[in-house]
């Protein structure tokens, strides 16, 4: 048991920055560039960890709490999730609500840390982040309801259990497909990817998440980047498990399926980012409300 928990945490901690490298490589390929090395996110993190801090005289301890919560929450959330063949270390009736609300906690502190600097740019980023997230949360709940209906269970481990294969073959497969699309949209919003946000535009007024961390430096910035990378893997694990519910019955095989799935997901995100433009800001709520309607449709299909 302990060994499995350690293995799961090790996979998360070691593997998390790699998908970012894959996304960047994919985008570079589409743009006809060579692009940064695959392991560039690791180098970035190492470099940031060695650097010193610079603080604005306006900031207080809340400014440091943002990165801390942003780093801890994905680690704890990962403990609620089954990774490949590894069962979820903490599993109880209704743990899916805790999973959703943990990310709420990290959003609260990231936004509070942004407002702590007193910069109007960061205030702008904070309000956009909380606005879009509160539209994304009902989507997640609708998707979870569909999954819980199919699984007849209220634990994340049960939701993402082996019954998913038969779910795909049942008449309810259409609703599962819609759920997959909806969760992918939520993944893009929550991880601030194109078409909702652009992770590369630090100094434009249209960005959301990146502007909230403008003032962070050194190890704190590294923790934010690392936390974001882990969040991508944790939320990605949901999507991957839904799309590839293969169960080989063999621990290493299951883990391989999971890891390959995450990398494939990173490639898909890279393709989406290369082929789409970022949406205009007023369009984002409309897309999110549309996705909510889609998820309601999935629920109706599932309950039919």
């Amino acid at each position: 048991m302990i060994g499995r928990i350690v293995l799961q945490l090790l996979i998360l901690l070691m593997f998390a920055p790699l998908p970012l490298g894959v996304i960047n490589k994919t985008k570079a390929l589409f743009a006809g560039r060579i692009g940064p090395p695959l392991l560039q996110p690791y180098y970035d993190l190492a470099r940031l960890w060695r650097k010193g801090f610079v603080f604005s005289r306006t900031t207080t301890w809340v400014f440091l709490a943002g990165p801390v919560v942003g780093l801890v929450v994905p680690v704890l959330a990962c403990l609620l999730l089954p990774f490949g063949g590894l069962p979820a270390p903490i599993s109880f009736h209704g743990d899916l609500i805790l999973f959703v609300y943990l990310f709420g906690l990290s959003r609260f502190f990231t936004a509070a840390a942004a407002l702590d600097t007193g910069s109007s740019f960061e205030g702008m980023g904070a309000v956009r982040e909380v606005t879009f997230s509160c539209l994304a949360e009902p989507i997640v709940l609708f998707c979870l309801l569909v999954l819980a209906h199919g699984a007849d269970s209220l634990t994340l481990g049960g939701l993402l259990g082996p019954q998913l294969t038969s779910f795909w073959h049942s008449p309810h497969a259409a609703s599962l497909g819609i759920v997959l699309v909806c969760l992918f949209v939520v993944l893009l919003v929550e991880n601030s990817r194109i078409p909702f946000d652009d992770p590369n535009t630090h100094l434009e007024l249209t960005m959301i998440h990146e502007v909230m961390v403008l003032d962070h430096s050194g190890p704190a910035l590294g923790m934010i980047l690392y936390g974001a990378a882990m969040k991508l893997v944790v939320l990605g694990a949901l999507v991957v498990r839904l799309a590839l519910p293969l169960q080989t019955g063999w621990l290493i095989g299951d883990l391989l399926v999971f890891l390959v799935g995450i990398l494939l997901l990173a490639v898909v995100i890279g393709v989406v980012e290369s082929t789409m433009a970022r949406l205009r800001l007023p369009r984002v709520p409309q897309v999110l409300v549309g996705t909510s309607l889609l998820s309601v449709f999935a629920l109706v299909l599932a309950l039919r």
């Binding site: 306006t58 109880f92 609260f108 109007s120 904070a126 709940l141």
Partner: protein
């Protein structure tokens, strides 16, 4: 039980001590506070025995027709009384620093008298088992509440708020008279209450509608919440904490108690409450985002939280109608626990808001800023309360919302097709939670983060220890329920059983509906420990860093505090999203030309129902009645004679057959 009564009496008369003590040294106030603390302590032993198999009852004869002095303490009452005692005691201590006699000679004694009186009346109300006794306590509470709201009765807006409250509470009481009269017809004990799940009446629907109006008015369910924002903003902060944290919950208590009498619950009761809960929740928080006054904002959050409580109660009622025992337990446990939780974190927030007002001297959020440096402890407590009210782990708000979520997910297992509509509770709750988070990020970030926006905020000072200690204890209580929720599971389980008239509660251990609470507490502890470790590590490695630079302004070298995001700008994008229901008014704000002159912007969001619906409607009615009166009472003597003659003729026609 006799000690409990002594405690209630001591609390009730505590304020009179203010009349005798020396005013210059706040002697009377300290004595009153001590009396309240003694009273609270005397109440505790009875509450600790609430899980014992025999019920605590007092039954005295009472020489009032139909009246009976019947008090009974069961788990449902205890779930409401426990947070009440904490709020009353800590509020009294807080008042020692916040509303000192020598600083407010005109009204501090009045505040003290009615503070004690309302506390005692609420406990009696929560214990009463006789309609007459209940209604008497209800009226004492309502009137004492009026005097708490109008503490500063020299201010016109305070008087207006008090007047609206008075009208609202009395129309509610009128409906309650009707409901209890109907409840009394056709049963032998007349005005004594029937046992749980034993009563049936052909007029059950009418009783429910009347009770929903009367109790919903007090609780502040959405279309009936009109009195609440003004009243909570007008009262002194610790009185607001008592009103918002405890008094409005007596409405919920009434609904819980009244629905427990009925043997059969029609399904539409649950659906009505669910609908009202969703409306109160979403529009309560949307209106809160649009507010600029911190106490009005907190008051609208009370509407939102009452909505969440109504969602829990609605699910429990549906569980009874459709015979789903786990739905009943989870829904009612969520409802009762959220009542207690809201009492704790809302009181914490009102007290810290009081400390901010005390330090800065204004209630406008846009005039705060940078308060965390000047009021570090108040900031910490406010942050804790904000995290708790958003329903985020590891605090208590998460536990009760989790129970309601779980109840809503339980509907998936039911075979009934109609019931699946109540699945929508979960996404609605998620939307409410997301909006509440946005709102409290705004309040905390704008008030405590950044640079001070005014000179008053720059010279703010920390509150005295008598104000800080109560806040700290509230925060600890929030963390206690959040980290050790299984401690409360027996009480909630028993309350749910008593509500349905069962003698034996569902098992608590493995497989029972409340069993996962222990696992949540494990996750909460892991979260707290991890956060503390990482924070400590980061703090240590950032020790020698430079802290003398300005915030990065993207190259602009002369930033000023005026350029910071304000509460209005923060709320703007969300308010626009909900503009279909809020109809905010916006003035100015568009500078034009190359060298624009000074420009100003202001936005204002009136209350959806009070300012847009009820006020115009009542004004129209008043105008109409004025016209009718002018027509009838026109001052011509001949016409009055005609009235007399007509009356006599009509009487003659009626009486002679």
């Amino acid at each position: 039980m006799i000690w409990l009564l002594c405690g209630i009496v001591l609390m009730g008369v505590s304020g009179l001590a203010g009349l005798i003590g020396s005013r210059a040294r706040d002697g009377g106030q300290k004595l009153a506070c001590a009396l309240i603390l003694v009273g609270v302590t005397l109440c505790l032993p009875a509450l600790l025995k609430v899980l014992a198999p025999t019920a605590t009852v007092i039954n005295w004869r009472w020489a009032v027709p139909g009246g009976q002095f019947l008090l009974e303490l069961d788990a449902i009452s205890a779930a409401f009384i426990l947070p009440l005692l904490l709020v009353v005691a800590l509020g009294a201590i807080y008042g020692l620093g916040y509303w000192r006699h020598r600083e407010h000679p005109a009204n501090a004694t009045k505040l003290q008298i009615f503070y004690g009186l309302i506390s005692a009346a609420m406990i009696v109300l929560l214990l009463a088992r006789n309609s007459l006794l209940f209604l008497m306590a209800w009226e004492v509470m309502a009137l004492a509440g009026y005097f708490l709201i109008t503490t500063e009765d020299h201010k016109p807006e305070v008087c207006r708020a008090g007047f609206i409250y008075l009208i609202a509470t009395h129309s509610g009481t009128l409906a309650l008279f009707g409901a209890f009269a109907l409840l009394g017809t056709g049963q032998p004990g007349a005005l004594s209450w029937p046992a749980a799940a034993s009563f049936s009446s052909p007029q059950a629907g009418l009783i429910f509608i009347l009770a929903l109006f009367g109790f919903g008015m007090k609780a502040g369910l959405m279309p009936l919440h009109i009195w609440l924002p003004g009243a909570h903003a007008a009262a002194p902060s610790h009185a607001s904490a008592l009103l918002s944290g405890v008094m409005i919950k007596t409405g919920i208590y009434g609904l819980v108690r009244l629905t427990s009498f009925f043997a059969e619950i029609p399904a539409w009761w649950g659906w009505t409450l669910l609908l009202l809960g969703v409306v109160s929740g979403i529009f309560g928080v949307a209106l809160a985002i649009a507010q600029h006054d911190i106490k009005r904002l907190l008051a609208y959050h009370s509407v939102e939280n009452i909505g969440i409580i109504a969602l829990g109660l609605g699910l429990a009622l549906l569980g009874r109608s459709y015979n789903q025992p786990t739905l009943v337990v989870l829904g009612l446990a969520g409802c009762l626990l959220h009542v207690a939780n809201h009492g704790l974190f809302k009181s914490l927030l009102f007290l810290s808001a009081g400390s901010m007002i005390h330090g800065v001297g204004t209630r406008e959020i846009d005039q705060y800023g940078g308060l965390l440096k000047r009021q570090p402890l108040t900031g910490l407590f406010f942050l804790g309360g904000a995290v708790a009210i958003c329903g985020l782990p590891p605090f208590n708000g998460f536990i009760s919302e989790w129970l309601i979520y779980l109840a809503s997910f339980k509907v998936l297992n039911s075979p009934s097709g109609v019931l699946s509509l109540s699945l929508l509770t979960a996404p609605a709750l998620a939307l409410i939670g997301g909006l509440a988070l946005a709102c409290f990020v705004k309040v905390f970030g704008i008030s405590f983060g950044g640079e001070p926006r005014t000179a008053a905020a720059a010279s703010a000072h920390e509150a005295p220890a008598t104000m800080l200690w109560p806040m700290g204890i509230f925060l600890l209580a929030c963390a206690f329920i959040g980290l050790l929720p299984s401690q409360l599971a027996p009480l909630l389980n028993r309350a749910a059983a008593q509500w349905q008239g069962q003698d034996h509660p569902l098992p608590l251990s493995l497989g029972g509906p409340l069993a996962p609470l222990a696992a949540i507490s494990l996750a909460g502890w892991i979260l707290v420990v991890l956060l503390a470790l990482v924070f400590w590590r980061l703090r240590r490695c950032s020790q020698g860093a430079r802290r003398d630079l300005g915030t990065w302004g993207c190259g602009y070298p002369f930033p000023s505090p005026k350029m910071q995001y304000t509460a209005s700008s923060f709320g703007d994008s969300l308010v626009r999203l909900f503009n279909f229901g809020l109809w905010s008014k916006r003035h100015g704000g568009r500078p034009d030309g190359l060298f624009p002159a000074t420009s100003s912007f202001e936005s204002h969001t009136p209350d959806l129902f009070l300012d847009r619906l009820f006020s115009p409607a009542f004004q129209g009615a008043a105008w109409l009645m004025h016209g009718v009166r002018r027509l009838i009472q026109n001052g011509v003597a001949a016409i009055y004679l005609l009235y007399s003659a007509l009356t006599l003729l009509v009487l003659l026609a009626l009486l002679t057959r």
